[in-house]
Amino acid sequence: MTLDVLYFAWLRERIGLPRERIETQAATVAELVEELRAREERYAAAFADLRAVRVALDQRLTGFDAPLAGVREAAFFPPMTGG
């Protein structure tokens, strides 16, 4: 499947880009993260501690066990600090 993957805040800075389009066979967010980690050191560094990472699928917050079937956009970012 083709997926738009977005990165925000320090994840964006560590990985070095705000978004990319990837081809993946990952069935869940966790599998996608494993694929990304395996790519390059900067991805491994960004996803080193998943307790500090949040994920949204098609702009809805979800967990790392969420399935990717039918999803078009996945976003990774640190805990939010708005307000």
């Binding site: 925000f8 320090w10 976003a75 708005g82 307000g83």
Partner: protein, 145 residues
């Protein structure tokens, strides 16, 4: 309900006056404004957001607040981009027949905005930036609702 996510500055006084004028039937109007604190030599703040998700998520949550607290109206304005000390970062306004509902809804919206709305703050001091870490107290604040 007016939900605005913008880079431009907004006029806290004018927004408050306009909201209250529109809420005249309500009786109670509460506003919260978050300002950039210039503490510890902070020279600027930069706010990143998730375009597309941000406004939709805020609108969803404002609708939930309106239903839960019997509001007659609610408003959220949140900026992104670079901000100087003293500038308003964001504001929330709520209107209700009773003050308790207006206060509770404003706090409910703030607790959510602080920990669930897709914004990230970076603080600049001495020319170098550092991302603001999420605070456990903000996460705890959300649990009371």
């Amino acid at each position: 309900m007016r939900i605005v996510v913008q880079e431009a500055a907004f006029d806290l006084g004018a927004e408050t006056a306009a909201f209250a004028a529109g809420a005249a039937g309500a009786g109670a109007v509460v506003t919260f404004a978050g300002l950039v604190r210039g503490e510890g030599g902070l020279t600027a703040m930069e706010i990143e957001h998730y375009p597309g998700m941000t406004e939709a998520a805020i609108a969803d949550h404002a609708a939930a607040a309106a239903a839960r607290f019997a509001l007659t109206d609610a408003m959220v304005i949140h900026r992104f981009g670079r901000l100087a000390p003293g500038e308003p970062i964001m504001m929330v306004a709520t209107a209700a027949p009773h003050r308790q509902d207006a206060f509770a809804a404003a706090e409910f919206l703030m607790d959510w905005l602080k920990s669930r709305a897709p914004f990230w703050k970076k603080e600049f001091r001495d020319g170098s930036g550092a991302w603001v870490a999420a605070r456990d107290s903000d996460e705890d604040a959300l649990k009371r609702w």
